[in-house]
Symmetry: C2
Subunit: 149 residues, 2 copies
DNA sequence: CAAAATCCATTGGTATACATACAAGTTTGT
DNA sequence: ACAAACTTGTATGTATACCAATGGATTTTG
């Protein structure tokens, strides 16, 4: 057997490694399933685009980078997302008179309408994603997820 | 207040929508943190590349698509991953004599060596990712994650 | 007040990730 | 045996996602 002094030799660690039970792998698969659920319920927007639009509707008017921070996307990522939302005329941008560095973003009327019309589906997505768990498990899962953030 | 007969009108659903407590958003953030932990402990490989290499070391010799299924990646994705692992000389491919469509993949000696040398770090990554939870919570979290798959 | 440190948006590069389409090879149903 | 259905690897296109670098604007500091 293995020596008791060292934690685990490389080859022992390799022998004991099982991808299918690792957090990272399980989280990736759980997320894959969630994305599939999302796509089935909301086809107009990707999950990321919906997150950006929802947060923008919640905040009203913010700069691009600020919206990125609020939605956990870096500057490069949020730019692409906003570009696509602008192409769809769901978001409008204007220079911030108080700070010439900033692009002030606001949802358009169409953006608001779309958000309101798909919000029920968004609730359903959360419900469907968590459907394999009973109610107590759902609560615990969300609690633990938040702790991991 | 709201009518009791309909579940939730669009605008009510929109008003009650909070991105920060949605499963999808929380999973994305938890995953972001995991990826950061991973990158800090293993810089030679991306999480996806490591998953493919680890699974290939476990299975010995499989076709590209079969490895994709075993690691939950579609054909297009696993191709790119294997291409990059081949560029690094960690994986070798040869035609399958039994099925001319298949590329038979095998880890190279360098691939085995790298896998064994980073396997301890992989265990550490799982540990660090779950560090915000106590032991009981970690067990529950992994259990619930598996149920969601 | 001027220099340093920050912040902002943008760009370029790399790496997933999935959908779709395709050609070549294999298996099935009849 | 042979056409239909399926599988495999590949290619293309779109959408995240992050890092690093850049240039312009603002704030902090010395």
């Amino acid at each position: 057997m293995t020596s008791k002094t060292s934690p685990l030799s490389p080859s022992d660690a390799a022998a004991g490694y099982c991808l299918d039970t690792q957090v990272g792998f399980l989280m990736r698969r759980a997320n894959q399933r969630h994305l599939a659920v999302f796509a089935e319920e909301i086809s107009d927007l990707t999950p990321t685009q919906f997150a950006a639009l929802a947060k923008l509707c919640e905040l009203g008017a913010v700069s691009q980078n600020a919206l990125g921070r609020a939605t956990a996307m870096d500057g490069a990522t949020i730019k692409g997302v906003i570009d696509r939302l602008r192409t769809k005329s769901l978001v409008a941008s204007s220079p911030d008179p108080n700070d010439q560095r900033c692009l002030l973003l606001k949802p358009t009327a169409a953006g608001w309408d779309l958000f309101e019309s798909v919000a029920p589906a968004a609730h359903q997505i959360t419900k469907d994603t968590l459907a394999p768990l009973n109610e107590a498990e759902q609560t615990i899962f969300l609690l633990l997820l938040e702790k991991l953030t």
